[in-house]
Structures are given as structure tokens and as C-alpha cells.
């Protein structure tokens, strides 16, 4: 009997640990999702009081919060576009061309990722102030572009270096001009890397607090709003925004993996007839 139990344990303990780790990862998200349906008893209470859909019906009940969310989305979008374009170009240069200072640049690219955000934030603030740049929306965008570029470069470069250079040679050999080669071969093959980099950049920008806090002036982004609200009691709509963000991210991931699976299945489906071996 005890042998059977120990064997069952031996076969299943990995699964148990995995479930525990998953629970550890998703518990906070579950709490946020749960609280988004809560009607709090008082401003400073985080206990689950009563189920309600009011928060989801009126996410913008506290109007300044929705302004902050919108602002964060705008900043995130601008920073993502600029950082992705710049970073992709840099990645191409680093992966494809030999030039002086290339190895030095490779190291420099990592610096913004390794530097503590506090240092980045304060030094940027000093730069803006001494340069007489008024703090606000655009200084936040500039700051976000700065730290997002590194992540984009690293992500796209990884994808590029895994790509066989002969594919482009083959395309040109098959009558594709430089532009056609880029459009038909290089871009489609690197695109997953670029998309991943853009998503990463957006999420970094959207929830950045430290660097933003130093360089925002009077502009309030969503993370700053939450920080400020935490002093006075967080409105339950914050949980709605958080849950919605998570749901969007989850849907994106599901959609891509589903699409990949369908493409694979479509490719396998028409079983070709086997050709008899010729001599």
C-alpha cells in the first residue's frame, strides 16, 4: 500500500510543484480580477464586500483616472513606434554590417538595461532641467524611447542572427531586387521579432513609474495615478483597468498560438500520395 502511495507521489510530485508555482504567479492577478467586481465598504478597505458589475459598467467613474490611462496609452504608443523603428534599424546595422566601434556599441546597448532606473530618471531630469526643456508629455516620451530602444535592439538582433543569410542570397538569385528581397523574405522572417519587441516596449512604457515620475512635470500617467491614489484609497476601477490589460495580453497570446497551430495543421492536412521510388 505504502509502495503504491510513494510511487504515486514519485510520478506526480512535479505536477504538484508546477501547480503551486502557477498559483504563486497567478494569485495576485486573481485578486485584482476579483476586486474589480467588488463594491468596497469604504475607500481604504480592500476586503471583498459585495459583488457588483458597476465598476465594469463605469470604468471612468473617476474621470482623472481615465485621462491618465489614455495618456499612458498615447505615450506608450509613441514611444513604441519610435523605439521599434530606431531599435530595428540598429539591430540590422549591428547584425549585418562590420564597422568601427561595433563591439563597443554592442556593450553600450546593454547599459540602459543594466543601469538602475533611479539613476536613469535623475540623470535625465538633470539633463532636461539644465537644457531648459519643459517637463511634461514629451519628456516622458523621450525618456521611454531611451530605455525601450535597448530592449528592441536585443530582441530583434536575436531574431536576425538566427536567420540564414543565404535566404536573401537565394531570393536575389531568384530575380528579387533588393527591395523585393527585403519585403518578401527578410521582413516576414524578422517580423515576429519586431512584433515581440514592440509589445515588450509598450508594456515597459505603459507601467514605468520611476523614470516617468522624475520627468513628468505635472503630467500624470496611469502608474502615477495609481501611486497617488494609493495614499487616499484606490478606486476599484483601477482593478478593472488592470484586469482588462491582462485579458488583452492573454487574448493576443492565445490568438497567435492558435493561428500558428492552424497554419501547421493546414500544411499537414492534404496528405500527398507517395511517389514510387525511381531508380
Amino acid at each position: 500500500m505504502s509502495v503504491r502511495i510513494s510511487r504515486w507521489l514519485a510520478e506526480h510530485w512535479v505536477l504538484g510543484v508546477a501547480l503551486l508555482v502557477l498559483g504563486y504567479l497567478f494569485l495576485p492577478i486573481g485578486v485584482v480580477a476579483g476586486l474589480s467586481f467588488n463594491r468596497p465598504s469604504s475607500r481604504l478597505s480592500y476586503d471583498f464586500n459585495e459583488f457588483t458589475l458597476d465598476n465594469w459598467r463605469n470604468p471612468c467613474a473617476t474621470s482623472d483616472m481615465c485621462d491618465a490611462v489614455l495618456r499612458s496609452v498615447q505615450i506608450g504608443f509613441l514611444a513604441t513606434v519610435v523605439a521599434t523603428v530606431l531599435g530595428t534599424l540598429m539591430a540590422f546595422a549591428l547584425a549585418r554590417h562590420r564597422f568601427r566601434g561595433r563591439s563597443g556599441l554592442n556593450v553600450l546597448i546593454f547599459l540602459p538595461m543594466a543601469t538602475p532606473e533611479l539613476v536613469l530618471g535623475t540623470s535625465l531630469l538633470a539633463l532636461f532641467v539644465s537644457g531648459g526643456v519643459p517637463l511634461g508629455f514629451w519628456t516622458i516620451v523621450i525618456a521611454h524611447v531611451m530605455f525601450c530602444v535597448s530592449f528592441v535592439v536585443v530582441t530583434v538582433k536575436a531574431r536576425l542572427s538566427g536567420m540564414d543569410g543565404r535566404l536573401e542570397e537565394a531570393a536575389m538569385d531568384l530575380y528579387a531586387s533588393e527591395w523585393q528581397t527585403f519585403r518578401r523574405i527578410t521582413l516576414p522572417l524578422v517580423l515576429p521579432g519586431i512584433v515581440a519587441a514592440a509589445l515588450l516596449a509598450f508594456s515597459l512604457s505603459f507601467d514605468d513609474f520611476i523614470v516617468t515620475n522624475f520627468n513628468s512635470g505635472t503630467t500624470v500617467t496611469f502608474p502615477m495615478y495609481v501611486w497617488g491614489a494609493a495614499q487616499r484609497g484606490i478606486p476599484p476601477q483601477v482593478n478593472v483597468i488592470g484586469t482588462a490589460m491582462f485579458a488583452v495580453a492573454l487574448l493576443l497570446v492565445l490568438a497567435t498560438s492558435l493561428r500558428g497551430r492552424r497554419a501547421r495543421r493546414a500544411a499537414i492536412a492534404p496528405a500527398p500520395r507517395q511517389v514510387g521510388g525511381r531508380p
Partner: protein
């Protein structure tokens, strides 16, 4: 497009490529007749792939011309050349299915209705029905055939093949050699095939050029190169040869007389690359026969005595090493036809050959005998 222009021979004129101080291809002159199956054979680093890439337009020549008919294409961009390549790694586009891979060339040239053509091509390489698969779902041999179809559909004037069978296992390679030869005969396009595999080159090509250090050492039909190599390099790169160092000391009728290690030999002048000075007397291992004593050697044959130091039984033949009086070891391949007696290690034996099967090569005065020990199977031994 390729068919409209009058095709012609592919000619390389003084083609040179240097990388810094290194000369990869050294003023190469070569004419490849239209419709032939031509093999560039050489060890890795001999410049054969660089030559191919210059013809494809993927490498810019330092100097010289690449002529197709009368037109110099050396400075054209790759997509402007009526030349297509089958890459060593196949370089199939992983994000496109087989159909789109094959249709890639025609589509770039603005051809809309490609379906019929692609279907014909896939059927030519025996991949009917595989159009909707991705390259990753195909085996190595199938990918190889897709690469071939993708290049052939464009009906290029010249098809370049860069070690196309290198990634396949031996059995599949044999099959593809025959297949390639069949397709070449069927479509009649000039094939230029780069390989380091001498057997592959000899099986398929009408003409083989042996390349070494950026230059062509010898060019000709496989049998001619094998039977009468021009240099010591060729003699041992294409199959193996016993090269015995000697000196020409005279002439007797149509034969050249040579002394080597105190013995005298003769070689027909027609099988000599030089008629004076230091030479190598060369004999292929399978042209050597073994006998117990000099008395048994038939008339008109020349012989050497030695001791058997190694005997490897490889099925179709037995490969002996025979140590001569001066210490060199000759390779002797004796066919296991059942008529031959077997020799054991340590036996004394006499190796003899027909002087018409020997050949004479020039030699630098300081060069010693060149007899390569058996490292690889001889040509034809396993087929």
C-alpha cells in the same frame, strides 16, 4: 526571358578574386560548353565556391570577365542574371510553402499564371502533391529536390549547384546523382556543379575541372583525367596513385627511359607530361598486379619486388601495401575475382604492371616518392 536571348557557352576570362592578401581565385580561364554537365572539383578552400558565387553574382570579381555567350555579366546584380543556384543548405524560404518557394522566381519576373508551371516542376522532381507543405516538413532529399525545382523553373541558361548533395546520406546521394543526371539530360541546361567529392564529380559530369589553390590543375572528361592525370595533385586527389620518384635518362623508340631507386622503367612518350629531368612514374593501385616471383611476371611487364606490410579485405577487392627495397609503400588493389592467390602480411611479392598503364609527371628535384596510404575507398570499389 532566358529562352528569348540566344544562349551560349559560359566563359570565365582571367577571373580573379582576392580577399585582402589572399587570392581565392587566380586569373581563371575556363569555357563551359552550352548544355554540358560540368564539375568543379577541389578540396575545401580551393576557390571553387568563390568561382561559383562570382558566376551567380553573389561575389564581385576583383578582375576578369564572366561571359555568357558574348555578354559580360560579371558586373550585373544577381537578379539580372539568367543564372540560378542550388545552395548547399538549400536555402528554402521557411515561411513559404513548397508551391510558393518554387513560384518565387516566376512571380518576381511578373508571371501571373504560375500554377501549371509549378505543377510540372514538382512533378519533374517527383514531389507531386507536396505543394502546400512547409520546407521544415520535408526530408533532406525532398528539400534538395525543391531547391532544384525552384531554380529550374526559371529555365536559366546556367544552373549552379553548390555541393548540392553534401547534406545527404550516402544512399540518398547515389540516388540523387542519378536523378540529377536524368534531369540535366531532360532539360538540357548547362549545369555547373561544385563539389569536393571526386566520385560525385566523375559519376555525373561530362567534363571535370580539378581546382587547387585558385587555379585549374586539369580539365577533361572524367576517364581521361583519371587515366592520365596532369599533375601529382590530380593523380592523388582523383583516386590515388603510386608516384615513384625517378629521372629520365634517355629514349628508346616511342618510350622514355627512367631510372628510379636503381631500377629502370620505360613509359610511352604519349603518356608522359615531360620528356626530361626529374619525374614521377605513376601507376594506379588497381593497375598493379601481384606475383610470387619475378619469373611469373608475364613478358612486356615491368615489376618491383617488395614485402607485403598490410592486407585489407574490402569485399570487391583486397588492398595490399607493398614495401619496396628503398622503403616506400605501394598500394596494390587486387580484385577478388577468385582467380587471384591471396598474400599474407610478411610475404615477399612482386608487383608488375603494363607500361602502357603507367604515366610520367614532372617533379621538383627535391620531391620524394608519393604513395598515399589507403584512407578512402577507391573509385568504383563499392558500386
Amino acid at each position: 526571358m532566358a529562352r528569348d536571348t540566344p544562349a551560349g557557352d559560359l566563359r570565365l576570362a582571367n577571373l580573379t578574386k582576392t580577399f585582402g592578401a589572399f587570392t581565392a581565385v587566380d586569373s581563371l580561364n575556363l569555357t563551359i560548353p552550352q548544355g554540358s554537365f560540368f564539375a568543379l572539383l577541389g578540396a575545401s578552400g580551393c576557390g571553387k565556391t568563390t568561382t561559383l558565387r562570382m558566376v551567380a553574382g553573389l561575389e564581385r570579381p576583383t578582375s576578369g570577365q564572366v561571359l555568357l555567350g558574348d555578354r559580360d555579366i560579371a558586373r550585373l546584380r544577381p537578379h539580372k542574371r539568367p543564372v540560378n543556384t542550388v545552395f548547399q543548405s538549400y536555402a528554402l524560404f521557411p515561411h513559404l510553402d513548397i508551391f510558393e518557394n518554387v513560384a518565387f522566381g516566376p512571380r518576381r519576373r511578373g508571371i501571373r499564371a504560375v500554377d501549371e508551371q509549378v505543377r510540372q516542376m514538382l512533378s519533374l522532381v517527383q514531389l507531386d502533391g507536396y505543394g502546400r507543405r512547409r520546407p521544415a516538413q520535408l526530408s533532406g532529399g525532398q528539400q534538395q529536390r525543391v531547391a532544384l525545382a525552384r531554380a529550374l523553373i526559371n529555365q536559366p541558361q546556367v544552373l549552379l549547384l553548390d555541393e548540392p548533395l553534401g547534406a545527404l546520406d550516402l544512399k540518398l546521394r547515389r540516388q540523387m546523382q542519378i536523378e540529377l543526371k536524368r534531369i540535366q539530360t531532360e532539360v538540357g541546361i548547362t549545369f555547373v556543379h561544385v563539389t569536393h567529392d571526386q566520385e560525385e564529380a566523375m559519376t555525373m559530369a561530362d567534363t571535370v575541372a580539378v581546382m587547387n589553390a585558385g587555379r585549374i590543375e586539369q580539365l577533361g572528361p572524367p576517364a581521361e583525367i583519371y587515366e592520365f592525370p596532369a599533375t601529382a595533385f590530380v593523380a592523388n586527389f582523383l583516386g590515388q596513385s603510386n608516384l615513384i620518384a625517378g629521372d629520365v635518362f634517355g629514349r628508346s623508340g616511342s618510350d622514355l627511359l627512367v631510372t628510379a631507386h636503381g631500377a629502370r622503367f620505360s613509359v610511352p612518350a604519349g603518356r608522359s607530361r615531360t620528356d626530361h629531368g626529374p619525374v614521377f612514374v605513376g601507376v594506379r593501385p588497381e593497375k598493379l598486379h601481384l606475383a610470387d616471383t619475378a619469373v611469373q611476371v608475364p613478358a612486356g611487364r615491368q615489376h618491383l619486388e617488395g614485402t607485403v606490410t598490410d592486407a585489407s579485405y574490402v569485399g570487391v577487392s583486397t588492398q595490399y601495401l607493398l614495401r619496396t627495397g628503398w622503403g616506400s609503400e605501394l598500394s596494390v588493389f587486387v580484385a577478388n575475382s577468385g582467380a587471384q592467390q591471396r598474400f599474407a602480411v610478411g610475404d615477399r611479392a612482386v608487383a608488375y604492371w603494363d607500361p602502357r598503364h603507367a604515366f610520367l609527371l614532372g617533379r621538383r628535384a627535391d620531391e620524394e616518392d608519393r604513395t598515399i596510404p589507403v584512407l578512402d575507398e577507391p573509385i568504383g570499389a563499392s558500386s
